[in-house]
Symmetry: C2
Subunit: 715 residues, 2 copies
């Protein structure tokens, strides 16, 4: 049943998401931007954000060109088997570029939407109230969310329609990953450098409140929220989306032929439609609870996706039909495997919810972990930091059990529903489909996440434009909800990265199995690529891979420190040299701060980026496929652990500070508060730079290995 | 050539080490303890330390009894194959007990030696000078070092002579591990609770100097140095020593029969003799450099061990002789494998040196990493902490590459020197022998490590007894050297734990292969136990195992915070309620502080200890051998990474503070100094509690799995 119409359906769903996003955008743009002052501030943030995005992508062009040429030219250097395909050559090079460009487009659309909505949200809060403000900010987020999912699905579907082989188009995932890694790291450095610079000199030294227009770094700070939280997270999830879809298609192709390939695309389509419907359910009245409104949207999306998946699975893997691979009837019927596949997708959706809860538990300021950190602030900054580290470390344990449970369950579900003789083989499809299930709702999750920075920015503009305090109160209410949704999205990003990495790993193993260079080597194991942990080469790979996230974590963390230092110097200089800033008669040079943050973020994203992209080929070609497999295993494990540790520690420190600021333990300016501010500053690069860098790190290693798998020259 | 006389030689070397240790002890005891005040202070530390040790071991008795009974009784519940051996039954239970008791005895001897030498070292510094003070303190350390190595070798050799099977005696390693884990965690909590308590109230609040006799926690603090650094490290390396020897014997038995079993014991004997000779070379004059003197001792030991190993390898694996296993001539000659085995041992010795250097680089206060942290202190505690975290994370990378290199080299060395057809099989002996090479010099390394706390304590006693300042200067000089040797020993402990864990892992895999329950399951792979990373069960194990070190790290870190809190409260109470403390007319209640530290350390070591011992059987029996293998892989990788991260971050923070105290960046009481003190306090539980807990954690999981391997009921 090789019915390419189905691929067009998937592409169509992607296109619908994009159209719906553009329509939503046009609706948002109809809203008023408020006073001229508000408009002017919003435009400053927009300009800064676009300037950063332009510079970031311009810097990446040479890298993209090098990879493009390598992918194109590699066909002349590797042995291409008779009638076989390898993931190199013009089609692969083009797929890579499409992935990279789609990632950039998603970033631009999203940034455009969120930066253009901040003043509009503030104005909505001022003129209409909370319900309207939620509507505007959430719609802005939805533009981002649906662009990410829509472009992901449309890109992969179209490439598949054109080239008809998942193997050829797998460099789409690598293109998306490479951009995502740079965007995450660069955006993460930018946002924290600006934040720390603004806080340290403005709040602490000059004693002016957050978002005060007299602070020269305040525009940079608001730009940072967008390039870090919105563009970074969007690129991250775009990458997960693309990579998971392709990994699923690759594995599906080997196991089930066409149905295995088309199914991930259709799940994506189901998820997108569900997310569009979900966005309509997000609404609240004046006294309403925005969190509850968002939860309704998320649950609607989850439930609709689950229901849709059931029908799609039953249709694509019909019990009575035989599996046909490369036109050959294998003589094996699908049997009841559709039920198992459905359950695997369901497992992904459940992980989604579970990880969101857990992240919230460890970072919410009314739960024991954060309260303990706040309590520890009474004996000073050292104990605050110690308890924060402890909360971060502890917060990894149960999520890891959840991931382990999801791996086991999704594998088991397909295993027990497969016909005899196929169980061991087919069951690896389960993990990939769990990942796909999780990511199918990305449209909604990204929407919820992106709404936060819009509300945050709206509050900033309200402050800078000196709107009445009740406006800020409303945006603060939205911002608080945004912190929770950001926590949920962070958990989602980490969880999906973990499952995506495992799906990529399975696909990589599959690629090695079909590598023409390996045929002889694999004869001993009957054609199976066995990554035996007792093999020293595998252990060597595990050790190296396990250490890489620590190296990247260290470098990104230090980069923030150095970039922030430059920002601090500049802000101090402006206060010193520009007369009348504090009195409001002199105008600070916002643009220079934006420029400094941009320059340092760009220059410091290069080293980690190169490490992430270059180490896997070195390990693969230098030590072999076994070592690379071990490398991926080690990297994924410690990468996920560090991601959880850093994100949750940072989130918990942040909320411990907010808890004290809310009046507990002496409130603002008390000794515990000072201690908590130090903890929060330590947490800043953890949660917004180093931690988020882990997700694209493990995925970029996976997507590049996907290309390497069929090319490596020795086991 | 089953010549049991060789085992007697090994036992003899162990006995010589013990006799030499007791003789050295008697020499140390001949030295004068100085003034009555010094004697009295020294006795207070001794009493406190012994009280802690007694309580610790008393608490562990019920645990030991439970395990003893389980091991004894397990023979009635598992199927013992015809003529086969399993690591359960009376002999195993007795071996377990011997391991536990030997570990405790080594701890007692060492503690006795170091706590009885502190006043004597101070007196030597006062009456004779630096050379004599080094002699006394190093001899005290040597007593500990040689007891550890001697008891380890004697214990294993005697058990082997009695039971004649490495499989039966492998619970010796588990006994040693279990005790070591508790000792490390309990000692680590004790030492930091006392330290933080003494510093926070004494130094910061009351403004009195360190080791001031008016501080009620000062005796507890000095006790802590002994129970943490000496007893904890001793138990840790005793465990590594026992576990590596036994893992080597198990693997050697399967591959080479008797020669494979006896060789690790003989390497141990060579190392002990080399260490005894090495101790004689440690001497320095009045103006001399104690560090140089210690280096001579270490290098002498390393070189002699290498030379001795060459001859032993040539004699035990003679090229022309055939391998005889279970009395059956295999028809395969040893060939040139002795050269490969020698090179593997050499690799271990080299790792030893390399990791010491690296640890020193990342933590020494004249090297870039520490200088950067000091520099970052200028902008406050938050940047100090951020840079410290970055240094800690980065410091894992190169050591991991070194370990990976050692794994690869030792494997390759045996591989290329093995006769055709045996290469793949024999090469796993390489990793075990690299671990054995590293640990063979434990006698010397522990001696160097234990000398530090003696010098530290001597300084404390000099201060408390109000000796002239030049005495303190001399002990400070020794103490500074002690910090470097402690860094080297920490690197050694982590490196040896990593290699030991891998040796245990190989032995575990071997155990599963010969598990009678697995015969059917392993038929598909020709009797090989393949731990395929692509198998979901293995991945599940890796994820769970990877998360455990984070959980243990979190709990031990928090335990320090809570225990320190209790101590702070008590010291504050004494200052408040006991009249005349500050004036020197009232006497603080030292004993109560000692008691509080003891109680809280003991009560808080229980949870991590139970997790460490109980999780592996749950994974093994609940999920099977594959999952347990994955678990060990994940646990070892993240355990080693966290051990390096926490130890080096802590060490770097500590030395950044010392660097500033040396006068840089404004010196003591400056703002950077205050920031650095906060960083140092954060680092305290990292480097002295949570970090060191990782080594025994990964080993205890390995040794318990060694027992589980042949007992598990499913793959």
């Amino acid at each position: 049943m090789e019915n390419m119409t189905l691929a067009y359906y998937a592409a169509g769903a992607g296109a619908i998401a994009l159209i719906f996003a553009l329509f939503t955008m046009s609706q948002v743009l109809k809203e008023s931007m408020g006073t001229p002052k508000m408009k002017q501030l919003s435009e400053a943030v927009q300009e800064g954000a676009m300037a950063y995005m332009n510079r970031q992508y311009k810097t990446l062009i040479p890298f993209a060109i090098v990879v493009f040429i390598l992918l194109w030219a590699a066909q002349y250097f590797v042995h291409v088997p008779e009638g076989g395909h390898l993931p190199v050559g013009p089609a692969s090079a083009i797929s890579f570029l499409v992935g990279a460009v789609c990632s950039a487009i998603a970033g631009y659309i999203g940034m455009n939407s969120t930066t253009k909505s901040n003043a509009r949200t503030a104005e909505a809060a001022r003129s209409s109230g909370l319900g309207k403000a939620l509507q505007v900010s959430f719609r802005a987020g939805a533009v981002m969310g649906l662009s990410v999912a829509g472009l992901g699905l449309l890109g992969v579907s179209l490439l598949y329609i054109i080239f008809q082989s998942p193997l050829i188009i797998n460099s789409f995932a690598f293109g998306a990953s490479m951009i995502a890694f740079f965007a995450r790291v660069g955006g993460g450095i930018y946002t924290k450098a600006a934040d720390v610079g603004a806080d340290l000199v403005g709040k602490v030294e000059a004693g002016i409140p957050e978002d005060d227009p007299r602070n020269p770094a305040t525009i940079a700070d608001n730009v940072g929220d967008n390039v870090g939280d919105t563009a970074g997270m969007g690129a991250d999830l775009f990458e997960s989306y693309g990579a998971t879809t392709i990994a699923g298609m690759l594995i599906g192709n080997t196991l089930f032929g066409f149905p295995g390939v088309i199914f991930p695309l259709l799940i994506g389509a189901v998820g997108i439609i569900a997310a569009i419907i979900g966005t309509f359910t997000v609404r609240t009245g004046e006294g309403g609870n925005p969190q509850a409104a968002l939860n309704v949207g998320l649950w609607t999306t989850n439930v609709l996706t689950a229901v849709g998946t059931w029908f799609v699975a039953k249709a694509i893997f019909p019990a009575g039909q035989n599996v046909i691979i490369n036109g050959q009837d294998t003589g094996v019927a699908f049997g009841n495997v559709s039920t198992g596949i459905f359950m695997a997708v369901l497992a992904g959706l459940i992980v989604n919810v579970a990880v969101g809860w857990l992240t919230e538990y460890y970072t919410a300021n009314n739960k024991p972990p954060v309260l303990k950190i706040a309590e520890a602030s009474k004996s000073g900054p050292a104990t605050n930091v110690i308890h924060g580290l402890a909360v971060g470390m502890e917060s990894t344990f149960i999520p890891m059990l959840v991931f382990a449970g999801a791996i086991y369950f999704s594998f088991w579900a397909v295993l027990t529903t497969s016909p005899e003789g196929q169980a061991a083989l087919w069951s690896i499809y389960g993990i990939a489909m769990a990942a796909m299930g999780m990511l199918s709702t990305a449209g909604m999750v990204v929407a919820m996440d992106s709404f936060g920075p819009v509300a945050d920015n709206a509050g900033g503009i309200a402050e800078m434009a000196e709107l009445p305090p009740e406006v800020r109160e409303k945006t603060d209410k939205l911002d608080a909800v945004g912190n929770t949704t950001a926590a949920i999205a962070k958990g989602f990003a980490i969880g999906s990265a973990a499952l995506t990495a495992l799906a990529l790993f399975s696909a990589f193993v599959d690629g090695v199995k079909h590598n023409p260079n390996m045929i002889e080597g694999l004869q001993a194991t009957g054609g199976n690529f066995i990554v035996n942990l007792t093999d020293p080469m595998v252990l060597v790979g595990v050790f190296i891979g396990g250490a890489v996230p620590f190296l990247i974590g260290a470098r990104t963390m230090r980069a923030v420190g150095e970039a922030a230092f430059g920002m601090v110097e500049e802000v101090r200089r402006q206060f010193r040299e520009i007369p009348g800033i504090m009195e409001g008669t002199g105008k600070p040079d916002y643009a220079r701060c934006v420029d400094i943050a941009t320059r340092s973020a760009i220059s410091k994203m290069i080293f980690p980026g190169i490490v992430a992209v270059v180490v896997p080929p070195i390990v693969g070609f230098g030590l072999g496929a076994m070592a690379l497999a071990g490398f991926l295993g080690g990297l994924t494990t410690t990468g996920v652990l560090l991601a959880l540790f850093l994100a949750n520690a940072g989130g918990a420190w942040d909320n411990a500070k907010k808890y004290i600021e809310g009046g507990a333990l002496g409130g603002k300016k008390s000794e515990p508060h000072k201690a908590a501010v130090i903890g929060d500053t330590v947490g800043d690069p953890c949660k917004d730079t180093s931690g988020p860098a882990m997700n694209p790190l493990i995925k970029v290693a996976g997507t590049i290995s996907l290309i390497l798998g069929p090319l490596l020259t020795r086991l």
